[in-house]
Amino acid sequence: MAEAPALLQVRRLTRRFGGLVAVSGLDMSVYPGEILGLIGPNGAGKSTSFAMMAGAIEPSAGEIFFEGQSLSGLPTHAFAARGIVRTFQHNKPFDSMSIEENVMVGMHTHVPVSMWQVVLGTAQAKAHEKQAREQARHWIDFVGLGEYAHADVQTLSFGQGRLLEIARGLAAKPKLMLFDEPAAGLTAAECLRLADIIRGIAAQGIAVLLIEHDMPFLMALAQRVVVLNFGEKIAEGTPTQVQADPAVVAAYLGQVKVDHA
């Protein structure tokens, strides 16, 4: 893993909210095709780190590099264009659209035709629309929502809504996909299916970063784990390594084991 250059590189990343330092001097990397878990107890700064990597909030200090280029000062929408796409913990579908149209919005940064071509109804505009529909179908089938492609978003269950978020993200042809607690609110069967889908995404060479509270789910899925506590990285390694790390056990895993007992 380490021989390939990092896709995403986080250097001395810091975020303050007033007097509170939510994330402090975080260094970490994400490599192509890996599944990386970012964990930590409540308030450890994982959501803040996630939001900075997704371009939703700006760092107070430090920098994020993607494919060697700094992402500093870029607006949120530019992250998707670079190849960084996220899902939301609380599903955020476009309610007025069908499943298919939701996924088509994901292709926004790959539209080869202009508004003028659309207005004039050129052959390219029509061809693109047809092609976009086919691609959307591909991703809808990939996550297993095929039979609902033309349904309204409101008819989906919570678990299906999560799958829609993933299909929509994949339609953006990401190089890095960020999952914000993807297992939250899912049934055990849905979690198994989700894990398969995430492995399938990584198998396509897409880097996956997830923050997750469900430890059994995450430890079975991630190849590497970064552990945060009080805004700082306290451990990094394979799931087995971090679970054995005394600092991690003290800060976090011990507490979780008690919860699950």
Partner: protein
């Protein structure tokens, strides 16, 4: 091919109608077509892009006034005046949109209301250029290539305007741009995460629909051959809002139905209740908002779904649980 045939058929039929009507009916017909044109643009802005803006009639007025001022005050030839008016409308729309689209919902509504009021004040105080409260009159459409376009022939111009507006907005609605507009309205945070530049999308939607309203105003200027401030006041933008809400917000067909209904209703009602039709409109609005928020198009959908699901097993299947396939 089939689609373009339909557009052509609509053009021929709607144009032919103009030649079968008398001059009074032609006047009513022209204004109906203009209301439909305005409602289509407003539906895109308000219903699809979700921007609560009240400046649509101001741009209608801006287009009308600027083309008339171009040909009378400046003495420009018609094509120059038209082009200058389009550029002017786009420039003003950008000047309003760039600061205003930072604002959402309520604040955008307030900013555009203020703009609409300011516009009326400027028209009233414009002295010789705008003709003040009396507006501008005693001008007419310059001859085009030696032809004087009037009567039903000018109605055909309005038919072309309405159909072009419909075609442009119809295509945009069913494109990546339309989806970006809806996405930015439904969930701006998710839209941005998917790479939609929410602010730019809003500015483009506002400028485009405002320019279309301006274009309609340029055509309107030669319908009555007079423009005055009262036509472009706030009262009419609220009527436009009623039209798209009663028809079915976000739907082009709803805008057409709503415009036809609310424009023609006073003709039916005034022999019965005089000028109190505004009361009826208000009542209908309240009922629609309370009981049928999707408007007449919503009723139509419900009727269609019901007649479809008469055959057993063909009704929509409710989605439950996660598919395991």
């Amino acid at each position: 091919m089939k689609r373009s045939g339909l557009w052509l058929l609509a053009l021929v039929l709607l144009s032919a109608l103009a030649f079968g009507l008398g001059s009074y009916q032609n006047d009513v017909y022209r204004k109906l077509l203009l209301w439909i044109t305005l409602a289509l643009g407003y539906n895109f802005l308000f219903g699809i892009a979700g921007q609560v803006a009240f400046s649509h009639f101001s741009f209608y007025g801006l287009g009308a006034y600027s083309v008339v001022i171009g040909i009378t005050y400046f003495g420009w030839p018609l094509p120059v005046a038209l082009l200058a008016s389009v550029v002017f409308c786009v420039a003003v729309a950008l000047a309003v949109a760039i600061p205003a689209t930072r604002l959402e919902g309520f604040y955008l509504a307030l900013a555009t209301l203020a703009f609409a009021q300011l516009f009326i004040v400027l028209l009233n105080e414009g002295g010789q250029i705008t003709g003040g409260t009396g507006g501008l009159a005693s001008y007419r459409l310059p001859d085009i290539a030696g032809y004087r376009i009037q009567g039903p022939a000018y109605t055909v111009v309005i038919v072309v305007l309405m159909l072009s507006t419909l075609a442009v907005l119809w295509r945009l609605d069913r494109s990546h741009f339309g989806r970006a507009c809806r996405a930015a309205r439904d969930n701006p945070e998710a839209a941005a995460a998917m790479g939609v530049d929410v602010r730019r999308t809003r500015i483009v939607a506002y400028t485009l629909t405002s320019a279309l309203a301006g274009l309609a105003g340029m055509v309107y200027a030669f319908v009555d051959n007079t423009v005055n401030p009262t036509i472009f006041g706030l009262e009419n933008v609220f009527l436009l809002l009623f039209m798209i809400i009663i028809g079915g917000i976000g739907r082009a067909a709803g805008a057409v139905v709503g415009a036809i209904l609310l424009y023609l209703l006073p003709f039916v009602l005034s022999p019965l209740i005089g000028h109190h039709h505004a009361l009826v409109f208000g009542l209908v609005m309240v009922l629609v908002v309370l009981f049928q928020p999707k408007g007449l198009m919503g009723l139509w959908d419900a009727w269609r779904d019901r007649s479809r699901s008469v055959a057993p097993g063909t009704g929509p299947v409710p989605a439950k649980g996660l598919p395991h396939g």
